[in-house]
C-alpha cells in the first residue's frame, strides 16, 4: 500500500495553545515530512467556522487521514469524527494529538511545550498512518423480556416492560406470584398493608395481555447474549388445569395436610392448595407427596368437589423455551437462619421466633389468621426483639442488611395492634434507619411504649429458659424476662442464587448477591450484558428500593432494546487471528465479559463481537500474538511510542 497522506490541522485554541506552543516551529518541523498532505493552522477548530474548514479541506484535498492537534480526544474526538464522516472519511482516520491538556496547559516553558507538541503530533501521525477503517456495527435484536422471579421487583419490572408494549414472561418457582412481600403484613415505615399494596399489581399482571406467567417453574438454561437470549424452563406438573379459579371448594374435602413453606412452616395447608385467595395464577396445585390419590390411590374427593372439572391427575412436567433480548433476575433473598448462633435459642427454645415468622403470625393471610400466639395458644404479654440476630457475625451474615432495624421496630407496632397492653423491649446495638421517615417511625414507637435497650456487645446476647418464660441477657443492659423472643434477622442471598448465577454465567459477590456491572454507574446490570439484577437479589434492600431497582432494570432494557432499532455495537473490539491461535484459551480466562468462546472442533478461541467491549486484556495476554485489539494494535502502539520518544 502507498504511504498514507495525512492532513495535519493545528489549532490555536484562541491563545490557549498558540500562547504556550510555538505553532510555527511545529508546522515547520512537519512541512517536509513524508506522508503529510497539508498543514493548516486555525484559530479554533471546534468552532462552526473551524469545523467547516476541516470538512471542506477533507472534501477538497482528499487526504487519507487527518491529525487534529488540539485538545483532548475526550473533548472533541467525536466532533471531528463527525466532521470527517460528513466529508466522506472513515471515523478511524481521525487522530487527535492532545497538545493542550498534555502540552500547552502543563508546560510553562514555551520551548519545552513546543518540543512536547512535536512529539505528540509525531506519535499521532505515526499511529494514524496505520489506522484501518472501523465500521459502525449494529445488530437486530429481540425486544421481549424474561423476568425470573415474581416478587414485588419482578412484578414491577414485568409491568413496566409490558406497559411499554413488550412481551414479557415471568418465571416463578413458587405456585403463584408475590414473593416475600406478600407474606408480610405491613410495610414500614408508613405501615401500609402489604397484601393491599400488591393485590392491584397482581391483578394488573393477570389482566395484561403482554404478560405470561409461568409459575411452579424453574429456569434450567440461558443461552445467547444481549438482544438474543433463549431461556429454557422446566414447569412442574400442577395437576390442576388453568380453568381453576381458586374457589377453594376442594380444600374442604381434601383429607390430608402438611406444613407449608408459604407459612414458613408455622402452619399447614391441604394437599390441594393455593398460597392465598386471589393469587395469580388463581389455580390451585396438588402436593403430590401427600395427596392420597398419588400415595395410595385411595382418594379423589377433589375431582367431585370441583365445579370446573379442573383436576387433572395426568398432568406432567413440561419443558418450555422463551426468547428475549433481556433477562431481568429478581430472585429475591432468604432470611438468614439464626440457628447458627446457638446462644439465641432459635430452634431449641420454644417461643423464640424470627421476625419473618412473627410477621407471618401477624399476617391476615398467615397460618394463625393474624393472631400472635405462643406455642400454648395464648397471646404473649411481653416480647423482646433482638436486633442484628446473626448479622455482623462470621456465623451468619457478615454485614448489616440496612433494613432490619426498621422491621424490628415494626414488631412493637404490630404487637400493640393485636395484643393490647403488651410490653415490647428492643435490644440493639447501633440502630440503622435510612431517611427521615424511618427515623421518625422509630421515635414514634418510643413514644408509643417500645422500650429500647442498648447492649455493648451484640455477640454475647443470650436467650435462656426461665420457667415458662424466656430470659434475655445482653451485656451493658439489665436482663429481661419475656414470653416471646423475636430475632431480627438480616437478608441473605436466596438459596438458588448461585445456581442461577451459574446458569446465567453471571457473577455473585462474596456474600452471594448478584454483582453489578458497575457498582456506581450501572448498579442494576449484572456482570453479563443484557442480564439485570433487580430487587434484593442484588443486595439487601427495602421494598421501595426493590421497586426502584426493578424500574431501573426495566427502563434500561427498554431504552436499549427498541423495536425496529438495531443495537449499536462496540467498534473497537478484540479480534483473534485464527491462523495464529493455538487454542490455549488464556484469553477466555482473562476476558472480563466472557466474550470469548472456544470452538473445540477448530481448537480456536473466538471473540463474540456483540459482547466484547474492547478493553484489550486478551490482546495483552495472548502468548501467540493471535489476539489483538482493533484501533489499539501492537503496530499502532509501537508507532505512537516511536513518535513520543523520537519526536
Amino acid at each position: 500500500m502507498n504511504q498514507k497522506k495525512i492532513a495535519l490541522f493545528l489549532c490555536r485554541c484562541g491563545a490557549n495553545i498558540a500562547g504556550a506552543v510555538d505553532l510555527d516551529t511545529v508546522a515547520a518541523r512537519f512541512k517536509d515530512k513524508s506522508g503529510i498532505a497539508l498543514i493548516a493552522t486555525h484559530d479554533l477548530l471546534c468552532s462552526p467556522a473551524g469545523k467547516k474548514f476541516v470538512e471542506e479541506t477533507i472534501a477538497g484535498k482528499k487526504p487519507d487521514g487527518i491529525v487534529i492537534a488540539a485538545c483532548s480526544p475526550k473533548m472533541h474526538e467525536k466532533t471531528f469524527r463527525d466532521v470527517a464522516g460528513r466529508a466522506g472519511m472513515n471515523l478511524a482516520q481521525v487522530t487527535m494529538a492532545n497538545i493542550r491538556e498534555q502540552g500547552a496547559w502543563v508546560t510553562p516553558d514555551k520551548n519545552e511545550a513546543t518540543q512536547k507538541a512535536i512529539a505528540l503530533i509525531s506519535a499521532a501521525l505515526g499511529r494514524g498512518a496505520l489506522h484501518e477503517n472501523l465500521e459502525a456495527r449494529s445488530m437486530e435484536c429481540n425486544t421481549d423480556v424474561v423476568v425470573i422471579g415474581g416478587g414485588v421487583a419482578g412484578i414491577e419490572a414485568a409491568l413496566m416492560a409490558a406497559n411499554a408494549g413488550r412481551k414479557v414472561t415471568i418465571i416463578e418457582k413458587d405456585i403463584s406470584l408475590g414473593g416475600a412481600v406478600i407474606k408480610t403484613e405491613e410495610v414500614g415505615p408508613s405501615m401500609e398493608c402489604a397484601p393491599c399494596l400488591l393485590a392491584p399489581r397482581l391483578a394488573a399482571v393477570r389482566d395484561n395481555p403482554n404478560i405470561r406467567v409461568v409459575s411452579n417453574a424453574e429456569v434450567t438454561d440461558v443461552l445467547g447474549f444481549f438482544g438474543n437470549f433463549t431461556v429454557r424452563v422446566k414447569k412442574a406438573a400442577r395437576y390442576v388445569k388453568d380453568s381453576c379459579i381458586g374457589c377453594e371448594a376442594c380444600f374442604e374435602v381434601c383429607p390430608v395436610s402438611a406444613p407449608n413453606a408459604f407459612h414458613l412452616g408455622l402452619g399447614a395447608k391441604k394437599a390441594i392448595y393455593t398460597q392465598f385467595p386471589g393469587s395469580v395464577p388463581a389455580a390451585a396445585v396438588i402436593n403430590r407427596a401427600i395427596c392420597k390419590h398419588f400415595t395410595d390411590g385411595s382418594c379423589d374427593a377433589c375431582v367431585a368437589a370441583c365445579p370446573f372439572g379442573a383436576i387433572d391427575f395426568n398432568d406432567g412436567d413440561e419443558s418450555l423455551e422463551f426468547t428475549a433480548g433481556a433477562v431481568i433476575v429478581a430472585t429475591g433473598f432468604a432470611n438468614v437462619n439464626p440457628s447458627s448462633i446457638p446462644a439465641l435459642g432459635y430452634g431449641t427454645l420454644e417461643n423464640v421466633v424470627t421476625m419473618p415468622e412473627f410477621e407471618r403470625m401477624a399476617s391476615s393471610n398467615g397460618p394463625l389468621s393474624g393472631e400472635i400466639k405462643l406455642k400454648n395458644g395464648t397471646a404473649p404479654a411481653s416480647i423482646a426483639v433482638v436486633h442484628c440476630a446473626a448479622s455482623l457475625s462470621e456465623h451468619g451474615a457478615a454485614y448489616c442488611s440496612g433494613v432490619c432495624c426498621m422491621t424490628a421496630v415494626k414488631a412493637g407496632e404490630l404487637a400493640r395492634k393485636k395484643i393490647p397492653g403488651v410490653t415490647v423491649v428492643n435490644i440493639h446495638d447501633r440502630l440503622v434507619f435510612e431517611g427521615p421517615a424511618a427515623q421518625e417511625f422509630y421515635r414514634e414507637q418510643q413514644s408509643k411504649g417500645t422500650i429500647f435497650c442498648k447492649t455493648s456487645d451484640l455477640a454475647h446476647v443470650a436467650v435462656t429458659r426461665a420457667g415458662d418464660k424466656l430470659a434475655v441477657s445482653a451485656p451493658g443492659t439489665a436482663p429481661v424476662t419475656v414470653d416471646m423472643v423475636v430475632l431480627s434477622t438480616g437478608m441473605g442471598p436466596s438459596p438458588g442464587s448461585n445456581v442461577m448465577a451459574d446458569i446465567l454465567d453471571a457473577d455473585c459477590d462474596a456474600a452471594g448477591f448478584f454483582k453489578p456491572d458497575h457498582a456506581i454507574l450501572h448498579p442494576t446490570g449484572s456482570t453479563i450484558d443484557g442480564i439485570y439484577a433487580a430487587g434484593s437479589c442484588a443486595s439487601p434492600c427495602d421494598v421501595p428500593t426493590a421497586i426502584t431497582r426493578a424500574q431501573a432494570a426495566a427502563g434500561d432494557a427498554l431504552a436499549k432494546l427498541v423495536p425496529g432499532r438495531k443495537i449499536e455495537l462496540e467498534i473497537m473490539t478484540g479480534a483473534i487471528d485464527e491462523d495464529k491461535c493455538a487454542g490455549c484459551r488464556l484469553c477466555i480466562a482473562v476476558c472480563p465479559y466472557k466474550a470469548i468462546t472456544y470452538d473445540a472442533q477448530k481448537n480456536k478461541s473466538i471473540v463474540n463481537e456483540i459482547i466484547c467491549r474492547g478493553c484489550g486484556t486478551c490482546a495483552a495476554t495472548c502468548p501467540g500474538g493471535a489476539a489483538g485489539a482493533k484501533h489499539f494494535t501492537n503496530a499502532q502502539i509501537y508507532a505512537e511510542l516511536g513518535g513520543v520518544i523520537h519526536g
Binding site: K74, N98, V106, T617, A620, G642
Partner: protein, 143 residues
C-alpha cells in the same frame, strides 16, 4: 548529569488516568515535559512487551497507570495488569533494568494532583538513575 533530560513514557488507561491527566491540564498543574502519555482503553491492554519496546526505543523510564483496583471501567482489567506486572517487575532486575525505571500505579479521573505528583516523582527518580544502559544482572535487586 545535571542536564540529563530523561524520556518517560506512561501508558494510561482511557477512563481514569488519561482523564486524570486531562484534569491536571484543565487545572494547569504543570509537570515535567519529559512525561509523555500513550492512551490505551484499559491498563489491561498493556502488554509487558510494550514496556520493553519503550526501553528499547530509548525511554529511560516507563509507567503504566490505570484505574484504582476495583474501579476498572472494564470490571477487572486492571487486576490482570496488577498480576501481570508483579511478575514483570521481578524480571526487570534480571534483565539489568533498575526497578525504579518502571512504575505501575493508579490514578483516578479526579486525581489531577496525584497525576502531577506521580509524573514529577517518576521524573526525579529516573533523573537520579541517569540514562538507561542495560548493565546486565543487577545483583542487589534480583532478590
Amino acid at each position: 548529569m545535571d542536564n540529563f533530560n530523561p524520556v518517560i513514557v506512561a501508558f494510561v488507561c482511557n477512563w481514569c488516568s488519561y482523564s486524570g491527566a486531562d484534569k491536571a491540564g484543565g487545572q494547569k498543574l504543570d509537570y515535567p515535559a519529559n512525561v509523555k502519555l500513550i492512551r490505551v482503553m484499559c491498563s489491561g491492554r498493556v502488554d509487558p512487551q510494550f514496556v520493553m519496546q519503550a526501553f528499547r526505543e530509548g525511554a529511560d523510564g516507563v509507567m503504566v497507570l490505570g484505574c484504582h483496583p476495583g474501579d476498572c471501567h472494564y470490571r477487572s482489567g486492571n487486576i490482570k495488569t496488577l498480576r501481570r506486572f508483579a511478575l514483570f517487575e521481578k524480571m526487570l532486575a534480571q534483565l539489568g533494568i533498575e526497578s525504579g525505571r518502571f512504575k505501575l500505579d493508579w490514578v483516578a479521573a479526579g486525581e489531577s494532583k496525584r497525576f502531577q505528583e506521580v509524573a514529577t516523582q517518576m521524573t526525579e527518580t529516573v533523573k537520579k538513575l541517569g540514562s538507561l544502559s542495560i548493565r546486565g544482572y543487577v545483583e542487589s535487586e534480583a532478590a
